[in-house]
Amino acid sequence: MHPQGDHDNRFLRWTRLSLLVTGMLALVAGPAQALELRVVDDGHTAGYVTLAWENDGDVELQQRDGNGAWRTVYRGADSATTLSGLDDGEFAWRARPAVAGNVTTNTPWGKALNVEIAHHPLQRALGFFAVGAVMFVILLACIALPWRVSGQPAAGGQP
Amino acid sequence: MTLSAAGLTTLVVAALAVVAISPFILIALLVNDLRKKSSW
C-alpha cells in the first residue's frame, strides 16, 4: 500500500514554490540577523504546516494563536519543524537566533509569518465520504454474495 | 468529537497484539506446510 504519501506536497506545490521564491528574495534583501520563516508543506486545509528557515546555530520559534500571546514551540538547531493538529483560525510564527540552552537572547525577532488554517467544510467532507461509502457497499455486495459454480454458462447476468 | 486516552490505548494495544503475534502464526503455518510437504 503506497500511494497516500505527500499528497499535499504536490497539491500545493505552486503555493510552496511562490512562498519559497518570496522567502529567498526576502533573505537577500533583509537584515542579516533576522530569521525569515517559510512554509515548505502547506496543509492549511488539513490543520498542519511545515515551516523552514536558514540558520547557523540554535533558534527559538514562537507561535501565536489568534490574538493570544506568543508561546515558544521550538528551541534548537534544526532548520524546520512540522506543526499539526491546528484548529481553524489565524496563526502566526516568528523566529530568532538563540544561544543554546534556555538562555533568552536579545536578538531581534524576524518578520512574523501568518497562515490561516481553514479546514474543509464538514459538509463537503461528508459528501465525498458518502459517495465513497455507497461504492464500497456495492463492491462489498458484489464480492461477498455467493459465487456461481465455475465452468457453467452464467445465467441471469444481472449486474 | 475527540478520541479519549482509553480509546487510544485500546486501539494501539489491540493493533500491537496482532502485530506481535503475527510472526508466530506465520512460522506455525510454515512449519505445518513443511510437515505436509505442501510448501512449494
Binding site: 506543526l83 465455475s150 454458462p153 | 475527540t2 500491537l16
Partner: protein
C-alpha cells in the same frame, strides 16, 4: 542542518552489504529447485498457506507503510493512521476473487490472460497500458524511495543506495524466480513485524499512553479529532485506490495462480487481517513525538527520529533494517509480476506467439534484468516529477475495479463496454485530479467506471462461457 541522518554511514554500509548478500544467496538457494517455466513464474502453483500469507503481507507493506503511515498520523491524526490501515480492505476483498480466479483459470498466468479471454484484444490492450504504466510508476518510485531513504537515514549517497537495492532485488529475482521472491518475503515479513512491535512496545514502556494522549490533547488537539474533514475526504478515495491497485495488478493475480488449491482465499484474508494493524502501530510511534519533545523537521522522517531518540544507534539500525526489508519485499514482487506480464502478454502475446518453453524461460530472465535496468535508469536522475507520476495512477487503476469484478461474476458485458469503462473512468479521474484535487481522482474514476460498466452489462446480449477461461493456457494467445 536537520538531524535527518540518524545512523552513521559505516554502520549502514555494513548492514546493506550483509543483507544484500543474504537476500541474493537465499534467492539463489530457493530457486535451485526450479525446473520449468511454471516453476520459475509461479513457483510450481502450490505455495502453502504460511509462505502465501507472508508474501501477500510483505508485498503490501512498502517503505511507505513504515514511513508514510507515521507521517499521516503526525499530520492528520487518528484518522490518518486508521484511514491508512484501511488499505487492508484491498487484500481482504481480493480473497474471494483469488479463489474464483484460480478455479476459473487453473492454467492462467497473468491478469492479462483473464482480460484477453473475457473481453477480447482491444480491452486487453487498454488494460495492459494501464497495468504497465502503474507497474513502472510503482517500480521507479520504490527505487527512488530506496535511494532517498537510505540517504536520509545513513548519509549513503542517493545513487549508491538506489543502485544497491535495485541490483540486489533484480539479482535474486533472476536467480530464483517467484520462489525466491516468496521465500525472501517470508523472512522480510518477520523482520518488519518484529521490528515494529519492538519499537511500539518500547514507546509504550518508556513513554506510556497517558503522557502521549495528554501532550496531544494539549498541544495538537486536532490530531485526536474524529471529525477532521480532510481525513474524512481521504478515507474512501484511499480505500478505492488500494482496491484498484490490488484487483488489477498482476502482482496479486500471479499470486492467486501460484498459491496451492484452496490456499488463496485463506492467505489473502489472513494477510489482510495481519496488515490492518501495521499502520496503526507505525502511526502510534509518530504520535509519541510531542510527548518525547522530538522536533520533526520533515514529517516523513518522524518514525526514525522517534526510534533514534528512544534507542540511540540501536533504534536507528532497527528502523534501517525494517525499511530495507519493506523496500525489498515490494520491489522483488513487482519485478517478478511485471516481467511475467511482459513475458506472457507482450513477448508471447504480441511478438512471439509460437515461442517454446525453453525460449520463454530464457526470455523471462532477460526481461527481469531489462526491467530492473529500466527502473534503475529512470530513477537515476532523481526527478521528483517521476515519483509524482505514481499519484496519477489512482485515476488509472480505480477504473479497472468494476470490469474485473463484474466480469468475474456475471456473463454479460462486452469488450467495448469494458474498454470504455476503463478509458472514460481514467479520463474523468484525471480531470477531477486537476480540477478538484488529488483526493478525489480514484473516487471519480471508480464512480464513472461503475456507471459505464453497469450500463454496458445491462445492454449487452452476449453471454460469456466461463469454461472458455479454463482452457486459457492450452490454446494460448
Amino acid at each position: 542542518m536537520n538531524a535527518d541522518a540518524v545512523l552513521s554511514t559505516p554502520v549502514a554500509v555494513v548492514i546493506v552489504a550483509i543483507f544484500s548478500v543474504f537476500w541474493v544467496a537465499l534467492g539463489w538457494w530457493l530457486g535451485r529447485a526450479n525446473r520449468s517455466l511454471e516453476d520459475y513464474m509461479l513457483a510450481g502453483r502450490h505455495v502453502g498457506l504460511g509462505l502465501a500469507t507472508a508474501t501477500a503481507m510483505a508485498t503490501w507493506v512498502t517503505s511507505n507503510t513504515t514511513m508514510t503511515a507515521p507521517q499521516l498520523a503526525y499530520q492528520l491524526g487518528i484518522w490518518g493512521m486508521v484511514g491508512y490501515s484501511l488499505g487492508a480492505v484491498g487484500l481482504l476483498l481480493f480473497a474471494p476473487l483469488a479463489k474464483r480466479i484460480r478455479e476459473l483459470m487453473p492454467h492462467g498466468y497473468t491478469s492479462g490472460d483473464f482480460i484477453r479471454v473475457r473481453y477480447g484484444r482491444f480491452a486487453w490492450r487498454v488494460f495492459l497500458l494501464i497495468s504497465l504504466f502503474y507497474a513502472l510508476g510503482w517500480l521507479v518510485s520504490l527505487a527512488m524511495a530506496g535511494g532517498l531513504l537510505v540517504e536520509a537515514l545513513s548519509g549513503i549517497p542517493y545513487a549508491w543506495g538506489m543502485t544497491v537495492i535495485v541490483v540486489t532485488c533484480t539479482l535474486y529475482t533472476v536467480f530464483g524466480g517467484l520462489r525466491a521472491v516468496i521465500g525472501t518475503d517470508f523472512v522480510q515479513t518477520l523482520i518488519i513485524l518484529a521490528g515494529l512491535a519492538l519499537l511500539a512496545g518500547l514507546v509504550i514502556v518508556e513513554v506510556g499512553f497517558e503522557p502521549v494522549h495528554r501532550q496531544l490533547a494539549e498541544e495538537r488537539p486536532g490530531l485526536l479529532n474524529l471529525l477532521l474533514p480532510a481525513s474524512l475526504m481521504f478515507l474512501f478515495n484511499n480505500l478505492l485506490f488500494g482496491v484498484g491497485e490490488i484487483f488489477h495488478s498482476n502482482v496479486w493475480w500471479s499470486r492467486a495462480f501460484a498459491f496451492g488449491e484452496g490456499v488463496g482465499f485463506r492467505a489473502y484474508l489472513l494477510a489482510g487481517l495481519m496488515w490492518l494493524p501495521v499502520p496503526i502501530v507505525a502511526g502510534f510511534i509518530a504520535l509519541a513525538a510531542p510527548a518525547l519533545g522530538v522536533n520533526v523537521p520533515s514529517p516523513d522522517m518522524v518514525a526514525p527520529l522517534v526510534a533514534g531518540h528512544l534507542m540511540g544507534e540501536a533504534g536507528a539500525i532497527l528502523v534501517f533494517i525494517v525499511v530495507f526489508a519493506a523496500l525489498a519485499s515490494s520491489l522483488d514482487s513487482l519485478l517478478a509480476a511485471t516481467s511475467d506480464l511482459l513475458l506472457n502478454d507482450i513477448y508471447r502475446g504480441h511478438l512471439r506467439p509460437d515461442a517454446g518453453e525453453a525460449e520463454l524461460r530464457r526470455a523471462a530472465a532477460w526481461i527481469i534484468i531489462a526491467l530492473g535496468a529500466l527502473a534503475w535508469a529512470l530513477a537515476m536522475p532523481r526527478l521528483g516529477t517521476l515519483a509524482a507520476l505514481l499519484h496519477l495512477t489512482g485515476a488509472f487503476v480505480a477504473s479497472t475495479i468494476w470490469p474485473i469484478v463484474f466480469g468475474l461474476r456475471w456473463g454479460r458485458g462486452s469488450g467495448a463496454g469494458a474498454a470504455s469503462a476503463m478509458i472514460l473512468g481514467t479520463v474523468c479521474g484525471l480531470v477531477a485530479y486537476n480540477v478538484i484535487g488529488f483526493y478525489v481522482a480514484a473516487l471519480v474514476s471508480a464512480a464513472v467506471s461503475l456507471v459505464v460498466t453497469t450500463v454496458t452489462f445491462q445492454l449487452s446480449r452476449k453471454r460469456f462461457m466461463f469454461s472458455e477461461l479454463a482452457a486459457t493456457r492450452a490454446t494460448g494467445p
